[in-house]
Symmetry: D2
Subunit: 406 residues, 4 copies
């Protein structure tokens, strides 16, 4: 059949859904670490697109290192202000000078591109952040090693070589708790947030399941402009609690308790009120790769990669491609193959080898009762093989902004 | 009479208008040094206004230290781009925390105010500079020495004490060459520039008079978007030359030669083309206090103060107030007193003494033929006395943005 | 018995030692991410000590956010040079002003302390890095939230409250592959490195075990001063390979293959030569919390915490204390209790609760054949209880620099 | 005779020595502006030497833009400390990549050279500044315009072309007040300082002469380590006062009053005590070109150039060369020609013309009684001509560190 080294085995643990204690976390869009992830990825997409537009290929770059230094703020009911701006340093490598085969020279304004992309991202993501007063965006992009990658040349895609010996890991399906945590954040930062402008973007959700009881703990930064007083604050919190509780019914039949801003103390006025919607305005620093993994979650019950997916070049950087691809493979398998209760895909690269031929692609499966590994192995093999053959599609989807990395 | 120490004497040189060689220079609004001066002063005004709004008095600050690090650009006929953004560091001291007599605490967002003021200034002054891609504005404002100044308290203005032993100097009237140099820049950055968008804001004018011949040398950055090709460039340069030549007729009957962008070499394509209208985009750094003096000119034929006027706090900083005031006094005297051919006003402060009582105010005069010092002394004395008595008006005019400092 | 919620259960997977494929990685001391971890932790220790010296208690701080921007270098046989210095930004929060109960005011020079600690660490760790030419250390420490912690007051230690709802995880015993990877790096950066100055500190070790075969891949930056030519380079690489191979015999009977600097290409002169001993000199950025976990390893086969342990305040920051404590508990249990093949300790905090009373301490065990959970449960319970009761000892050991965090 | 345009004329004012009021200022070595001047010049010398060593010629550079952001300190009798380090940003342009005629490529570590030179200068100049805790030195050197200068090629010196239309000015002899001000600072920062370690390097001296009375006002930062208490402080101040008074006798027969640290208030403990010997530790920012002119003084009674001499490239930068050369010419003329009471030399360049052929070299003279311009004109002409012919010697002397620029 295939020449790729694809191994399908039984997972030597039970499904995460069946473990006694499960912990899941998601740092929302406005969390300082997520802001950095988002900027890094947005800069990455902008650079890749500009390289394609100007040179016809993606040149070497890596921008997975944004650092955020928190500001100081004085939030107040009805509208406060930022005292000391947030400082964001976009760090990385990018090729700014290129000579093509015809001797044509190109100067690519990589710093300017990164600056604009970072500011655009902040503007879109944090509507209550005033870019003229609340944040300083700085850029330090050095030259990289200079070995160019040409996956998207005019001659059509070729498969690049792995830049490192590394690995990626993906899981499917998500557990009830995982889905609930992820969708809680997405709802608060999505439809619910649109209807309730008092809800800031810095929403952190932690789910803890012990047996059949799930505790969902939400820490949500409220935006002071839309909160006139303490009563309004309390009402917003209660409204969030109810919304999340209702939402939970869609994802689980288990017993769910929802906690919102548990550290608040109304008596002494200690509440989670912000001017900008993010704790980055007051004391919470952030950086890339410290928060959500590529599937948007932190899941200590599951195997995780330490690699920062956001900001890495999507052409040959295994730390990005294999995390995104293994997640996609896991989802495809679960969608298409019957009888799978839990599944983990690991892709291990070998430096210098084509990225569609990993050193090993191992798939560990927990099957449903009555289903055996041999029952599902051929189908899984085929899907993995097909997805690997189409690995460069991941690159294109990253550039098109279709994939989330955090 | 007055108790102020005001001395009126004969100037021991002739009028500058009569010297054999006269050199005058003006760095236009878009020159890197002037950009820094302008930002420093704009930040100064914004801080002063915010202090008055919030606390009812101007607190201690000093923001006379902006540093500009040039970028890199790739200008091109029809429109180029900035490759590496300009980096601007706003430096200074400002009081960010204040407790008034009632114990009310104030947190003043001095960094945010400075950031916004700097960006506003750039937006207004350099319309071809894209603030999202072409410049990074950073701020480092430390706390000052903490001794507060309350000149504009609710009880009405009091006269503050001098912060230093220093001096200011002013001259009037301007010579023909001085006026010509100054008005050349103002016209190019004013009405002419509005009609001719190809003229950038970085206009540097040097005037050299030898006897009755004046050479006006203009270095004008053109903006590439409005210059489609080399012919257009040459036409713009010629148009500037003609305009300045016509302008000269308004200010002098002397013989004037106008040179524009003399370093250009059309043969090898070496011309003064920019994307943003300022040489800060490519290799020219700048800082406060390195360019024009308080009267808008660099005049080696005249006594000059080394103090940077821009950005200094306008309440008690002698380096600012006495330079502005002595210039204003000189102009008033010349406007009101007959028979003065050249005049220099020097105000010398003594630290800790009220600023309306300088250690010495000395006025040196070159009179017209047939006029003696005793003829003009009483009038001059009275004007100087009156202007000194009204010294706090300078502060208010600075805050209102009515005075130029460079 | 105990009132602490300590649960001992069977681990629902087999021992990692028995899994088919095992992947382990360690980033050595000189890896850019480890440099950041080390600086962050060194700054943390210095701040804690200074707070104790000056105020008698540890004030609020958190310094887990150092960012390294790579430099540019021109290594050369016999000695090259750094072209563009490495830039390191130490980021975090620290209390710089404190008033004690007697009204005594303290100004603590937190920036100066951090600067010195960072430079000291670099000097000690990277002997080939010239601090006068090769690196710029910058510091941005803001004020934190201001709620002070007083665990080490004069009245003896009290148990602080958890700062967050978070968790820590620890494992024991290490597998053969894990020990081999860790000890390979320690040996190369220890005794072997002392005898072989050509070996730089940036040593990255990856171990991959498939069944009973272990591949150890070492990427070792050589220091150009001690490598006169290509022959010497090859000899050094071969010597490292042999040394690691010999070392392997101490840790495993399995079949081991050692690879060193596999990306080298002697033909075209592409080798891993550096001037400073770290890839941070040329293109490799780094930041805190992106590399090794608290036990010094990256172990995708095991549950990992995303929290950066390095740099966090050791008094009440769960992300640090519980990772260190759970590792210590795991090691104690394995050392003292017979019959344990693999063990995972997880400590889950609840914000605002004393840190010696976690919400849950769950211990999952793989026992040896013939041993049951009830056989080991009482002993394990007792050890966990004892270690939790003594949790503040972790704080002290961190301050004394006795614990490694990466 | 000569083809150079050298004009000798009568100065249309009297000698400065004869003016009624004379003001002179010198900012000492440790003043924040002087620190910046010194760093800029030291970096300049280091770059020029390295270029010569490596490439055999001085490549394009300009480093006249250092910015100092003041720190915060807590001085205390017997020894205090710096709380927040001083931040120094070295700014400028330098060529980091060069290809010679043979095609040999050179990478010159300009940032590393600048960093080291700046730190070396601080270490030498400010012995009480601890470079590990008290200061952060950052560097931002961009590429310049790229047109290389080769004045010191292997074929011997050629005369370069002027980089700008600009001018330099020099005076001689110094007046008594000028000499007294300059020598006061040099003595306090020289022999007296060596014997009295309590005297810091930040010594600012202002001289004001009215008729035959000279007031010398010294502001001297004392170093807390060497000042155990208020009595010791008072004794140091009194000792400085006496020393300067004695010194005055060497330079003038006029009546001299010496004031030291006049802003001190012993009652309320407000004194000028520092930990590092410079006010840069607490609130006083600084930058290049804002302090002393090329002759080491600020002399509002004399014509001054606004150009920053320090840090400018010494090969073709008129703003540097002509200020140094005109000063040197003035001193030579006064040393060699009898009968000169005051003399001003101005050199006006024209962009693109050889620097030994200024557009005009005009020498204005006040002669002693009984001496006429024709008496001295030929000798002056000859000296000016000779000095201009040897202009490249200035470049060499700058590189050798033989000339002071501030």
């Amino acid at each position: 059949m295939t020449e790729r080294n694809i191994q399908v085995q039984s997972l030597d643990r039970g499904a995460v859904e069946d473990e006694t204690v499960e912990i899941v976390e998601r740092k929302g869009l406005g969390h300082p670490d997520s802001i950095c992830d988002g900027i890094a990825e947005h800069v990455c997409e902008a650079l890749a697109r500009e390289y394609l537009d100007r040179v016809g290929k993606v040149l070497h770059f890596n921008t997975d290192e944004t650092q955020l230094v928190a500001g100081t703020a004085a939030p107040a009911f009805g509208g406060g202000e930022v005292i000391e701006p947030i400082y964001i340093l976009v760090v990385g490598r990018a090729t700014s000078h290129y000579v093509d085969d015809d001797g044509t020279e190109y100067d690519i304004p990589v710093d300017a591109i990164a600056l604009e992309a970072a500011r655009d991202y902040l503007r879109e993501t944090l509507p209550n952040l005033d870019l003229e007063t609340d944040v300083i965006v700085d850029v330090k992009l050095g030259e990289g090693s200079g070995d160019l990658q040409e996956v998207f040349s005019d001659d059509g895609p070729a498969v690049p070589m792995a830049n490192d010996t590394s690995f990626g890991v993906g899981h499917a399906p998500l557990t009830e708790t995982e889905r609930l945590v992820r969708e809680t954040e997405r709802s608060l930062n999505g439809p619910y947030g649109e209807d309730n402008p008092a809800v800031g973007e810095d929403v952190k959700v932690m789910g803890k399941r012990e047996g059949d009881h799930i505790d969902v703990t939400v820490a949500a930064a409220l935006v002071d402009t839309y909160v006139p007083n303490m009563d309004a604050y309390e009402a917003e919190i209660e409204s969030i609690r109810e919304h999340v509780h209702d939402l939970a019914d869609e994802y689980t039949d288990r017993d769910v308790t929802v906690h919102v801003n548990t550290a608040d103390d109304y008596e002494d006025g200690s509440i989670y009120l912000t001017t900008t919607g993010t704790s980055a305005e007051q004391g919470d620093d952030g950086s890339v790769g410290r928060g959500n993994r590529a599937n948007g979650l932190i899941t200590p019950n599951r195997s995780m990669s330490m690699e920062a997916t956001s900001g890495k070049n999507p052409v040959n950087h295994i730390g990005k491609i294999y995390n995104l691809l293994s997640t996609q493979i896991a989802e495809s398998v679960v969608a298409e193959v019957e009888g799978i209760r839990d599944l983990r895909v690991r892709l291990l690269s070998q430096i210098g080898r084509p990225i569609d031929e990993p050193h090993v692609a191992d798939v560990h499966v927990v099957t449903d009762d009555g289903v055996t590994i041999p029952d599902v192995e051929p189908e899984i093999q085929a899907i993995v093989d097909e997805e690997l053959a189409d690995v460069t599609a991941i690159t294109q989807r990253v550039i098109d902004g279709e994939l989330t990395t955090f």
